[in-house]
């Protein structure tokens, strides 16, 4: 039930409650109605007894000789259906109504009691069901002078009413349950409408629409309070997000300005005529260091933007083949010293929807790694293909297998997959390449890594 939608849950709980409520009501109401009706009946029987005694007194000779049986003359027409037993002095039986047959009421206790009698003539109606012949009766014992009168009647009317009530209850229970279940669901949906509106608004809140907020329902209820609290949280998040975005822009400016001064100073120094060759080489190396710094700053900025969800790419139809041509050219030059051989398998054109500056960075990183982690005299293979709206570019090399436990961390920041600190580079390359691939709606993954071959696969959306 925990996994049910809230609407269904509310409906089910409502139905369950109504069943319980009805059962409690029936359990309390039916006996109390029964008791009330019995009390009325008892009063009626008392009246009947008074009536019978009066008529008995009027019967000539009865009071003088309370041992002589009397006929049914003292019983008025309206009481002919009653069970009546009259005893006189010393317990002499004076009258025993026919409908009692051989049943005796003499042993009944004083006052009112409920007993079961066999119905007179019932055998003729239904002989096979013994219980059907038995009838519940209410019998009262009354005294008047020497006479003891026991008068009773069947409880059939009261029992029939009880049965009717119970039938009605059983009949209404499933209908009421269904109605309440459906009603509960409708109510829940109605009550949850502001929540649906909140969900829709929350979905609109994104990097593109950070100012969007949840609607606050007019009623001052729990949902309104929740909206207010959530909106406050969104405000805080947006402030943090904005300051992070501003930070990356500011940091970029702040970091690049001193580098620019450094670079300008070094360039000025390099243009001096009096420098010795050795000094020129130092200056050239320092210039190179400023370029390294710039690239590092740009990489960190890129990652900061990516973390803030603000990494922008400018995708346009781009033929990857010339980009791969350039990559191959670079690899050829680098391969020379290491004795690497470069293989290539690409179609004539391969148009992706990609940002040329970003794709260059990705491929440059993959190419550099393929050289860096390769063994001397090894191979590098660049292949590309298109498949169902996706462009695949794979860069493989004959470097050693990347241990399984490092593969997960391969794309982490400042990680060189356990290749040791003796390998150059700041360890951001794969991380940046993956972020850039993802910003395009693509992916960068390790396709294979064993003793013979390690291959990375770049996926980008194809154009056209």
């Amino acid at each position: 039930m925990n996994k049910w939608p809230i609407k269904l849950k509310i409906g089910a709980y409502c139905a369950l409650l109504i069943v319980l409520g009805l059962m409690v009501t029936a359990g309390v109401m039916l006996p109390s109605i029964y008791r009330q009706q019995i009390a009325e009946l008892d009063e009626q029987l008392e009246g009947d007894a008074a009536d019978l005694f009066r008529r008995l007194d009027d019967l000539p000779g009865t009071s003088e000789n309370p041992r002589t049986p009397v006929g049914d003359k003292f019983i008025p027409l309206r009481l002919k259906q009653r069970y009546i037993e009259l005893t006189g002095r010393d317990g002499a039986m004076l009258h025993h109504s026919q409908n009692l047959r051989d049943a005796s009421l003499r042993r009944l206790p004083e006052g009112m009691s409920t007993i079961t009698l066999r119905e007179a003539g019932a055998t003729a109606r239904s002989s096979d069901d013994a219980s059907a012949l038995e009838l519940n009766c209410r019998i009262g014992t009354f005294h008047h002078g020497p006479f003891t009168l026991r008068v009773g009647t069947r409880l059939r009317t009261i029992e029939a009413m009880q049965e009717a009530l119970l039938r009605g209850f059983y009949f209404s229970l499933p209908i009421a349950t269904l109605l309440i279940f459906a009603g509960g669901m409708v109510l829940a949906r109605h009550a949850l409408r502001p929540v649906s509106a909140m969900t829709a608004a929350a979905e609109r809140i994104s990097a593109q629409h950070p100012d969007e907020r949840l609607p606050i329902p007019p009623a001052k209820d729990e949902i309104a309070r929740l909206s207010v609290v959530l909106n406050a949280s969104f405000d805080r998040l947006q402030r943090a997000y904005n300051s992070a975005a501003r930070f990356s822009a500011d940091a970029s400016h702040q970091l690049k300005t001193p580098i620019a001064v450094l670079r300008a100073g070094l360039d000025e120094m390099a243009s001096c005529d009096y420098l010795q060759e050795q000094e020129r080489e130092i200056v050239a190396d320092l210039v190179h260091q400023t370029r390294r710094l710039t690239t590092l700053v740009e990489d960190l900025l890129l990652l900061a933007q990516s973390d803030a969800g603000r990494l922008k790419v400018d995708p346009a139809p781009l033929d990857l083949v010339p980009v791969i041509d350039n990559l191959q050219d670079d690899l050829d030059a680098l391969a020379l010293e290491r004795g690497l051989s470069i293989e290539r398998a690409t179609p004539e054109h391969l148009v992706a929807k990609a940002d040329v500056r970003r794709v260059k960075i990705i491929l440059q990183n993959l190419g550099e790694n393929a050289v860096k982690y390769n063994r001397d005299g090894g191979r590098i293979r660049v292949s590309a293909r298109r498949e169902n709206g996706t462009v695949f570019v794979s860069v493989g090399n004959t470097g050693g297998a990347i241990p399984v436990e490092y593969r997960e961390r391969l794309f982490d920041r400042f990680n060189r997959a356990g290749q040791g600190e003796n390998i150059k580079g700041h360890g951001l390359g794969l991380n940046i390449a993956r972020e850039l691939a993802r910003a395009h709606g693509g992916e960068l993954s390790l396709a294979r890594s064993d003793a013979e071959w390690t291959e990375f696969e770049l996926r980008l959306p194809a154009a056209g």
Binding site: R263, A264, S271, R280, K312, L334, Q364
Partner: protein, 225 residues
Amino acid sequence: MRILVVEDEDRLASHVARALKRAGHLVETREDGAAGLAEALKGEYDLIVLDINLPTLDGFGVLRALRDARSPMRVLMLTARGEVGDRVAGLKAGADDYLTKPFAMEELLARVEVLSRRTPVGDAPTRLVAGDVRMDVLKRKVTRNGDTVTLSPREFELLQILMQEPGRVFSRDEICERIWEREHEYDTRTVEIFVMRLRKKLDEGRDTALIETVRGVGYTLRLPT
């Protein structure tokens, strides 16, 4: 040329000013946007080197005001952010060219030189000639003395850079910046290899070497005298 440099980082401004003066220009510097704009509107300058991040009025604001005043000045913008958005915004607002910080001073001087010729920027010449070497940029064809020389993409780019400014000495790092933009680990070494390969293809069997190494500095395309 009369050049106004508006840059709030005074040391950078003074380096730029000195380099421009050495190249034979008349240079004035201002350190904030409002002062820079006021100076520029005097109409005494041909070119303004304009930083984007400036106190009082940012570079875009200065640029807009200049264009509103129909100033004929050429505008070279400096931006710390290499973001495409900034470049597009700058060029849309009417800048003639932009440079991303940090930049090579030689690059700045070269851009200023191009702007002084008043030819539209971005229309790089499609045919380059240096001595007996001819380059068709569009068809990506190179001939020396009429013989076709087949070059790889990077060799072609390298030769194009050298041929655009024959006689100028390019440092390895400047060439790297032009070819790859981003620094990468082996780039200066790669440039050396490309220069070697280019020399082999261009100079093989000839007595005049085209590409000359300037020791401790870089490379230059030697013009036949």
